[in-house]
Amino acid sequence: MLQMKTHYPDATRVETSHRHTLAIIVDNEPGVLARIAGLFSGRGYNIESLTVTETEHEAHISRITIVTNGTDSIIQQIRSQLERLVPVHRVVDLTLTGEAVERELCLVKVVGKGDHRVEAMRLASAFGARTLDATLTSFVYELTGTTDEVERFIKLMTAVGLVEVSRTGVAAMARGAEGIR
């Protein structure tokens, strides 16, 4: 038996984790997404959802929304580590700045006939989903909502013939009059 002694100290702290949504304003330059995704994987942080698009074309600025999970000290580290990256302008923890508005969009394709088809239509209308495409045997629905709503919708649709899902991930914004740029 090998002795399990090492020259590194043991882990000593146990804290509870929470879900946080971060808005990251960055220069939209080549490799910036790789830097951010690489930072998360390299340092062992979680990414639950990641959304990115250029938001100011003239200034080449993008906004990245990341939903992550960690203890308070890890979340603080994530922010500081992100702010160390040269193309990152600022990082805002939307979970800390007060309840943020969060939405994601999903597209689902369901295939079926008879009762399944009727039930799929009922569910879609109950959730307020839009029908984007229909054939005699299939529908493509669009639903915008919180992550929880989207999850519930997908779960229900699974029972009535869901064959494909595409989701955008979370877009988020703080409530109130103040803007982040």
Partner: protein
């Protein structure tokens, strides 16, 4: 005024405009245009190394000893990948470097072209920032920005990957009015409210200690001057990490020696017992903290650091101050004076009394021998015989590195170059080449181990070519001593592959390179031979045959607290200094 020139010429021009005098490099297909541009000028001197890793370490030694950024030039593919270890080393130890790598022409990127590799991808995690330059219009800005990013905020290595077609393209070069990045602006001035609170806390401290680090050296000589002023004003004890040695003079009475795993008893116990800890530019590395839940249990902590991610990373602090050491120290000194603060004299006297008690145990004591050279003794003699000169010390990694840190006394910053965070064997010889180039008249010594030295040995040839009279002082214990020590402690003394087999004859090796070889195996000959080494004005390899069994103490076994140090076995036998606290094995748990 803009001038028309090729991309390759822009590289050299930008270096010159940045005040760069020396670069370390190795040619290859993807940088030939830059080498051609080098050929046509004499402003920037190119030092040809023998391996790209050597180029980066040489640039690190140059940078750390001079305070200027180090510059490296390597080719694509294998040139770039050979440089990786050096870049990772510079990243860990916050050394400002600009490394220019050649890349295949833009139209071939992504096609697995000859000597193509994804340099920006590979170096993303071991650089502070990197650039792939795809248009000649961007080149002047990127080159200057690279210097700004490397040097400002927490320093680090920056890679500029330059495809060969861009090196050939012609464009207009203007030196930008400012090198600044358009948005990257590190905070240098500390928050006054926090600084005020920190000074207040210091004034009321009963058992304070300064814990300083590499950040003071990064900040520049002015920070070291201010640190000395503040330490003297307050009368507090001071210890430093491996990376911060020299920022405070080791000869001073307030100096407790290095702290951490192989730090002194007094420094570690002061950290354990203190009520106020003032961390200036150190990053609570695990070699310092040991067990986090037992680390300095009674202290309120102040932490000055330019990088917010260093603050509260592993150790929670009470007063964080984000800023540059020199700026914050200046404010601290001013506030202390302005408010006519006085340390609590009575409490401080008590505290020093306790510290003197710890000091009296003489934790660095060792039993010397007339037959074999003790490695500690070798470093002591090296120090005594070189202390009146302008001496720069570099090291490899291992026991010899720790003995150098413990027994060589540094009085000035920038005189000590070692691989701390990455712990790269092979660092010391090329770093000595870089330091000697920056300080041609100084005495530059690489304190080495017989295993480490073989990792970058080829750089002897560089030293010869450029008449750099570096001294390689090998503490030859015929073991990867540090590994052997860990195997004794953790793996029942099973010395799996840690013996240095088939060693070369280092004296002949020195001679084969055209240098001077000296061997010493008797304590009585040591002084004369060290003097011989110092007095030849050529590169020397000094093969110092030392005790093969010696271990490096004091030591905090990992996972233990600062008050659970192991002290030197021999002290137990002599009993003179630590007497009854040592158990029969000579290991001490306080």
């Amino acid at each position: 005024m803009s001038e028309t020139m090729t991309g390759a010429e822009m590289v050299i021009r930008a270096l010159h405009d940045q005040g760069v005098e020396h670069i370390f490099g190795y040619p290859g297909g993807a940088v030939l245009p830059i080498y051609d541009a080098l050929f046509h000028q004499d402003k920037v001197q190119h030092v040809l190394v023998r391996h790209e890793q050597g180029a980066v370490h040489a640039a690190e030694g140059y940078a750390r000893s001079s305070g200027k950024p180090g510059v490296v030039l390597v080719t694509s593919g294998p040139g770039a990948t050979n440089a990786i270890t050096g870049l990772a080393d510079a990243m860990m130890d916050s050394i400002p470097l600009v490394c220019i790598t050649g890349q295949v022409p833009t139209h071939l990127i992504g096609t697995d072209a000859f000597q193509e590799c994804d340099t920006v991808g590979i170096t993303r995690h071991c650089t502070k920032h990197n650039y792939l330059v795809k248009s000649i219009e961007d080149l002047p800005r990127v080159l200057h920005e690279a210097f700004y990013v490397a040097q400002n905020g927490r320093p680090g290595p920056v890679v500029v990957d330059l495809p060969k077609d861009i090196q050939f393209k012609t464009g207009s070069y203007v030196r930008p009015l400012s090198n600044q990045h358009k948005t990257y602006r590190p905070t240098v001035k500390g928050d006054m409210e926090h600084i005020r609170a920190a000074v207040e806390l210091m004034a009321n401290a009963k058992r304070p200690v300064f814990y300083t680090g590499g950040g003071v050296v990064n900040s520049g000589p002015h920070a070291a001057t201010l640190l000395r002023e503040l330490v003297r004003l307050t009368g507090f004890p001071i210890t430093s990490t491996l990376m911060g040695l020299g920022a405070y003079p080791a000869s001073d009475t307030q100096w407790l020696g290095m702290l951490g795993m192989h730090g002194t008893y007094e420094a570690n116990l002061a950290m354990h017992e203190c009520d106020v800890m003032i961390n200036i530019g150190a990053r609570f590395d695990d070699r310092i903290t040991g067990r986090l839940d037992a680390f300095s249990p009674f202290s309120k902590r102040i932490h000055v650091d330019i990088d917010p991610s260093s603050i509260n990373k592993t150790v929670k602090v009470d007063i964080p101050i984000v800023g540059d050491c020199a700026h914050v120290l200046e404010d601290m000194v001013r506030l202390w004076r302005q408010n006519a603060h006085q340390a609590d004299k009575v409490a401080l006297k008590d505290w020093w009394g306790k510290i003197e008690g710890w000091r009296a145990r003489n934790c660095l004591g060792f039993r010397n021998s007339n037959e074999t050279i003790k490695p500690q003794y070798a470093i002591q003699r090296l120090y005594e015989l070189t202390k009146d000169r302008k001496t720069y010390i570099t090291t490899e990694v291992g026991q010899h590195q720790m003995w150098a840190a413990q027994y060589f006394k540094f009085e000035e910053p920038n005189r000590w170059m070692t691989s701390g965070g990455h712990g790269t064997m092979g660092y010391g010889l090329p770093a000595a080449v870089g330091a000697q180039l920056a300080h041609p008249d100084a005495l530059v010594i690489d304190i080495a181990g017989e295993a480490s030295i073989q990792m970058m040995l080829q750089e002897m040839s560089t030293a010869l070519q450029y008449n750099l009279p570096i001294k390689v002082f090998i503490l030859n214990n015929e073991y990867m001593g540090m590994v052997r020590q860990w195997q004794e402690l953790l793996h029942g003394g099973r010395y799996s592959h840690s013996y240095s087999e088939s060693l070369p004859d280092f004296v002949k090796l020195a001679e084969a390179y055209g240098g001077v070889g000296i061997r010493c195996d008797k304590p009585g000959d040591l002084d004369a031979k060290i003097l011989e080494m110092i007095n030849v004005n050529r590169p020397v390899i000094f093969d110092c045959l030392v005790d093969k069994a010696e271990n490096c103490f004091p030591m905090i076994p990992s996972g233990k607290a600062h008050n659970e140090m192991l002290l030197n076995d021999y002290l137990g036998e002599t009993g003179a200094d630590i007497g009854s606290v040592i158990d029969e094995k000579g290991k001490m748990l306080v």
